[in-house]
């Protein structure tokens, strides 16, 4: 479906905000088929960057370019998962999962939808409405809907932030499993999530973008692993005092390693 063909992205430029101010120059490489975590405090513009990548109206514009490394346009190859499940309450599970097809005026492929619903562990709940599901189950439906779109690039805007710790951990594992092969750019404000899931982790602060050290081993990493805990602590410190970040490679501005 997507696998090895997922393109990487290059996001370069300055964010320009409506009040005329702009960010430091940003250079964010998003390697194809990998998870890239974009960590940062609220209000620094990481969601704006993600929305611009998705082609959505955002609180700012990019003086620069967002390009895919296969030369094809990014537009139309992106799937989106937000902070809330964004399910239509009046549609049942299968109706929500097939929403994209109907919104494009296409015939929904219900058999494939059933397969995606089963893949996220909700087989048998196809006719349930969102209000009959738990928060975690609703986020699973959102994941099945994302899978149904079969887009090579998946943008996640703090997708698990509204979930309790246990459900969040389960969803991280499930999302990582079912989105294998896709190019994933995940915005998060949680160091643990970045340390657990990121093949690459970038810290976005007022001063610019910094590539952070990533613990050894492939995601999803065990949060109890000492290296992961240390990475989480380092990210946590960097998040609090981005200018005095200990350890990690500093790569503000143009110098970010690709």
């Amino acid at each position: 479906m997507r696998l090895a063909t997922a393109p990487g992205l290059a996001i370069r430029g300055r964010l320009v905000f409506p009040d005329g101010s702009s960010s430091a120059p940003l250079d964010l490489p998003v390697p194809g088929g990998r998870w890239t975590a974009l960590l940062g405090p609220s209000g620094v513009g990481k969601s704006t960057l993600l929305r611009l990548t998705a082609g959505l109206p955002a609180g700012g514009s990019l003086d620069g370019a967002i390009t895919a490394d296969d030369g094809q346009p990014v537009d139309g190859r992106v799937a989106w998962m937000g902070q809330t499940d964004q399910l239509a309450p009046w549609l049942d599970v299968i109706g929500n999962v097939t929403l994209g097809a109907r919104l494009r005026g296409a015939r929904p492929d219900r058999d494939r939808a059933r397969a995606m619903i089963a893949r996220v562990g909700l087989a048998g709940r196809e006719r349930a409405t969102p209000r009959e599901l738990s928060g975690g189950q609703r986020q699973r439906v959102a994941l099945a809907r994302t899978l149904m779109e079969a887009r090579p690039i998946v943008l996640l805007d703090e997708p698990f932030s509204a979930l309790d710790a246990r459900t969040r951990a389960e969803m991280q594992e499930l999302a990582h499993e079912v989105l294998a092969g896709a190019t994933v750019l995940m915005v998060t404000h949680e160091p643990g999530e970045a340390a657990r899931l990121g093949d690459a982790v970038y810290l976005m602060a007022e001063t610019g973008l910094a590539a952070m050290a990533v613990p050894a081993g492939a995601p999803v990493r065990d949060l109890a692993d000492t290296a992961v805990l240390e990475a989480q602590a380092a990210l946590w410190h960097a998040l609090r005092r981005p200018t005095e970040a200990p350890g990690p490679r500093r790569a503000a501005g143009q110098g970010a390693p690709a």
Binding site: G100, R131, E132, G136, E149
Partner: protein
């Protein structure tokens, strides 16, 4: 961990038939409170009628000024034919006005959202138009549409047009912005977003507009009959009764009008509640 592990979380709210029944005590309490809720308006009504009858008896006021409920009931019985035939006229006007005003209001709201530039231009005009006292337009409507039912239907339509437009317009614009974002990324056109997301999400707001319209439509029709030189209808009958000092007949007409409005409201309220349930995914 496997997929099997992660499916076991319990749903927040289960409405399936396999759910255990709620404890008996709270549900019994709930039933008795709804019974009290249902009885309260009836008790209030009985109380008002009792005070009215008591005042008429105690004061000995002449029936030409204020007839008691007993006389009104008698008139309802003795004049049932004429009241019924005129009530049918008014009911037809109300229903036609309700259908027309709701349809026009809904179409306007949809059009204003489908063409936001037009909406920004037209909506202030619509709001400003509410400063016009529509009752003053009744004679004009008669000149344009004649003395018949058409001018009364037009009055009811005019009165409910704005509440329906405003309520639905508001609802269409309040769709969860996250859902709209998602639809945009999915490649949806604005028209399909309107049809698949904005309209279903706006059903409760539309229900609110319908409820308002149901209350206003009879007022519009009756005022249309008063001001618009009607030859039938409860408003016409009330004017006639008033001119002949048949105050008991006036009250009888009022009672019929009120009962009809309440019944119609109860019906529309059920429809609106159903719309709420559909939009919330309740079954």
């Amino acid at each position: 961990m496997t997929l099997g592990d992660v499916t076991s979380e319990p749903p927040v709210a289960t409405r399936s038939s396999t759910a255990p029944p709620p404890p008996a005590a709270p549900s019994a309490a709930a039933a008795s409170s709804t019974l009290a809720d249902r009885l309260r308006p009836i008790l209030i009504l009985v109380g008002v009628v009792a005070i009215w009858q008591g005042y008429v008896w105690a004061s000995g006021i002449t029936p030409f000024i204020l007839p008691g409920p007993d006389r009104v009931a008698l008139t309802l019985w003795s004049s049932a034919d004429v009241i019924a035939s005129n009530a049918l006229v008014t009911i037809a006007e109300v229903l036609a006005g309700l259908a027309l005003g709701t349809a026009l209001g809904a179409l306007t709201a949809i059009q204003l959202v489908a063409a936001p530039a037009l909406g920004r231009m037209v909506m202030p005009v619509l709001v400003f138009s509410q400063a016009i006292p529509f009752f003053a337009l009744a004679p004009l409507l008669v000149i344009w549409l004649g003395f018949g039912m058409a001018s009364k239907i037009a009055m009811a339509t005019l009165i409910i047009y704005f509440p329906v437009t405003a309520a639905l317009h508001d609802g269409l614009n309040r769709t969860d912005p996250g859902l709209i974002d998602l639809a945009r990324v999915m490649g949806a056109s604005p028209a399909r977003i309107l049809w698949h997301l904005r309209l279903p999400a706006a059903l409760p707001a539309f229900g609110t507009g319908l409820r308002l319209a149901t209350v206003y439509a009879p007022v519009g029709a009756v005022i249309g009959e008063w001001v618009g030189g009607a030859q039938g209808g409860l408003g016409y009958l009330m004017l006639l009764a008033n001119g002949r000092s048949k105050i008991d007949l006036m009250f009888a007409c009022l009672v019929v009008l009120a009962v009809f409005t309440v019944l119609l409201y109860a019906l529309i309220d059920r429809v609106a509640k159903r719309l709420d349930a559909i939009a919330a995914g309740e079954r």
